[in-house]
């Protein structure tokens, strides 16, 4: 006769961020000790703690490991083409100005193939929150060199070490016109969450870089241990310097990581500039796009839609 084991009680409490996730897509595809999940948790927590109508929040990702974030968030979610998350998000925002649009993608996607879109969206102060998870490497394709790979770090396409200087992303964003710029590591979960909340409440082009461990590729190729060792490295080497000069926060190989909020300015956004300018130059003739979008029919006029559906069936 077998022994009846006492069964573990099923979890009665839902994970606090479950309502923000597509739980039917969990488990996710990220590797053990990957940092992206932590960033998602901080973002979801911040959304929950902010007073935003989640029905009006869209999330847009490009391609890559972080490019999968949109796919796990229970929001209007767009998994787009490589590098084009920012222009796609620009269309969403301008097409329905009442939306709050977040771009969530990786370093290769946003500043490698998508670099041109990044600098122009920052320049025009496009109303987007851009979250960039920087793991120093192309993860999804197997560890190739990134525009953020620190000098001398090994990647699969720089097997003798990287000799190309990397981007200093807060400096890039700030110099192009970003109105909010911060950097954290995956270790700084409370500070990162606070930063997300702050950025959600701001307007314009807001940029948050999050340094995240990739133990499968970056750490393995550079013999840096596991995700735990990288978190320990962040613990020992991250330096919080709010208001630091963004031009001085570049990241060297296994060198200190300056974190903090570097820019927080109130400046008119692209939409505000546009509206103010047209009001000034065109006066009463200016008809701004409706916050719900340039619909030429009322979506609630169901009669119309029935007619359309019926006429299509008749064809």
């Amino acid at each position: 006769m077998s022994t009846v084991m006492e069964q573990t009680k099923p979890a009665t409490e839902e994970h606090p961020i479950a309502p923000y996730l597509r739980m039917d897509r969990i488990p996710h595809i990220w590797c053990p000790t990957c940092g992206i999940g932590t960033v998602v948790k901080c973002y979801a927590t911040a959304l929950g703690e902010s007073e935003v109508d989640l029905d009006k929040v869209s999330i847009v990702s490009g391609i890559g490991c972080t490019g999968r974030v949109a796919g796990y968030m229970k929001l209007d979610a767009f998994h787009t083409t490589h590098g084009r998350a920012i222009p796609f998000a620009t269309g969403l925002k301008l097409g329905r100005p009442e939306l709050m649009v977040t771009v969530f993608s990786g370093d290769g996607d946003l500043v490698g193939i998508g670099g041109n879109h990044f600098i122009h969206a920052a320049r025009r102060r496009m109303d987007l929150l851009v979250v960039l998870v920087n793991n120093f490497i192309y993860g999804m394709t197997g560890g190739q060199n990134a525009p953020t790979t620190p000098l001398t770090a090994r990647t699969s396409t720089m097997p003798y070490g990287n000799f190309e200087p990397p981007f200093n992303l807060p400096h890039l964003a700030a110099s192009c016109g970003a109105t909010y710029v911060a950097r954290w590591t995956c270790l700084h979960t409370r500070r990162l969450t606070r930063s997300f909340k702050e950025a959600i409440a701001r307007k314009g082009f807001r940029f948050i870089e999050v340094i995240a461990p990739c133990s499968t590729l970056y750490a393995r190729l550079n013999r840096l241990g596991t995700g735990f060792n990288l978190m320990q490295f962040y613990h020992d080497n991250a330096e919080i310097m709010h208001g630091a000069d963004p031009s001085k926060v570049d990241i060297g190989y296994q060198d200190k990581i300056v974190c903090g909020k570097f820019v927080d300015e109130e400046l008119p956004t692209m939409l505000e500039l546009m509206n103010a300018h047209y009001e000034k130059t065109l006066g009463d003739k200016y008809v701004p796009m409706s916050p719900e979008g340039g619909m030429i029919h009322d979506p609630d006029q169901s009669r119309d839609r029935e007619e359309v559906a019926a006429s299509r069936r008749d064809d």
Partner: protein, 385 residues
């Protein structure tokens, strides 16, 4: 339903084809345009950027054509009808997100005012050499719709049709005009708004908890949910199931891509548009489109003066191709003559459909101008020998 009068500049105008395109888009209810300057298409967005602030539309000049096309696909997901405008080199860059538009089933219109190519080619002079690119330019298997107007008036009228088809089938529509049509100025009559019939995409009325973004429910086209309406849907450029979730399998690929193709193929009879003249009893039938159709008229007339029975099919919708009609005619005629400003693109399709039953004779032109009608005449005379 009738269009929004705000965008309709009712009256009789003297407009070039590019301006007429822009007016057509605004009359069709387009309220978002993203573009990047490129000759000979720029006048379209110049017209729109001047008028949009007065009619509730937003124009943005993006940093390149990759961004323009991505923004157009993004904006369309809010329900706002969206357009971009370009020419050959920009069209090449747009291919990436035209594929995304096809995969996500996003209604939008892409104007290509064709110029001579390849590469930078002849920026200020005409061409028709992007016709195959319009059909096959993005990677992978998909179907879309391409149209080709022959005059400014038709550029206006057809643009409304282009938006309607893109909304009905949730597909990017390629509006393949050319430098000649784009820059020729003619009379354009814009009717009153109440005479402009528009067909918007079907917005779903399924409650969000039951809604599946890619369930077609026995129809060919799934119902649309706009971003911001509480559906919290997911869409992706990856192969996806009815939920819009990525599924990496041959079975899912088959279902997903098959429907993308079938929604156009199965409805080709409703989408195909062409004009036909004097094909009854014809020995030779010209198959033409765009500006070349007007030049070919002269060639046909010269041949008729010489006693040859010449018919003509003018393609208004080029893709999907009117296969059925070309097959029927192939049984009855001697040969098709296909003048086009390229070294043989649509002629390949004519040849395929003719299946050896009738000849398919190309009258090529490298671009930078239109055909000499005598070259078309010579081809016709050669065909009846």
């Amino acid at each position: 339903m009738k269009t929004d009068p705000a965008g309709v500049l009712t009256g009789t105008h003297y407009l070039d084809g590019d301006f007429a395109c822009g007016e057509g888009a605004m009359a069709a209810g387009c309220r978002f345009v993203a573009g990047y300057p490129i000759t000979p298409s720029t006048e379209v967005v110049e017209r729109i950027s001047r008028r949009f602030p007065m009619i509730g539309g937003t124009f943005i000049q993006m940093e390149d054509e990759l961004a323009s096309m991505a923004a157009v696909v993004g904006a369309s997901w809010t329900g706002t009808k969206s357009l971009t405008v370009t020419s050959g080199p920009g069209f090449s860059l747009m291919m990436e997100n035209i594929g995304l538009g096809a995969m996500m089933e996003t209604p939008c219109v892409v104007v290509n005012v064709q110029r001579g190519g390849p590469s930078t080619g002849l920026p200020t002079m005409t061409g028709q050499a992007d016709m195959m690119q319009a059909r096959w330019g993005s990677h992978g298997d998909y179907e879309l719709i391409a149209m080709s107007p022959q005059s400014p008036q038709e550029a206006f009228d057809l643009m409304i049709d282009a938006f309607n088809l893109s909304e009905i089938y949730r597909v990017p529509v390629m509006f393949m005009t050319d430098e000649c049509v784009g820059h020729m100025t003619e009379k354009v009559v814009i009717p009153p708004a109440e005479e402009i019939e528009i067909v918007p995409r079907i917005l779903t009325r399924t409650p969000p908890e039951d809604y599946l973004p890619y369930r077609a429910n026995g129809n060919d086209v799934p119902e649309f949910a706009r971003a911001g309406d509480g559906y919290r849907f997911h869409t992706t450029g990856l192969t996806h199931d009815e939920r819009g979730y990525p599924v990496m399998s041959a079975e899912c690929q088959e279902k997903c891509v098959h429907r993308l193709i079938n929604k156009i193929k199965n409805n080709a009879d409703k989408i195909v548009r062409f004009e036909e003249e004097e094909t009854d009893g014809a020995d030779v039938v010209l198959v033409t489109y765009g500006i070349t159709a007007r030049v070919a008229q002269m060639g046909a007339q010269l041949a008729r003066e010489r006693g040859v029975k010449v018919g003509m099919i003018r393609l208004i919708v080029v893709w999907p191709f009117p296969e059925k009609r070309i097959r029927e005619l192939a049984d009855k005629i001697n040969a098709f003559v296909v003048p086009e400003i390229n070294y043989g693109q649509i002629v390949l399709e004519v040849e395929r459909c003719a299946g050896g039953k009738a000849g398919a004779i190309l009258v090529p032109h490298g671009g930078g101008g239109v055909h000499d009608p005598n070259d078309i005449l010579d081809a016709i005379m050669g065909a009846v020998k």
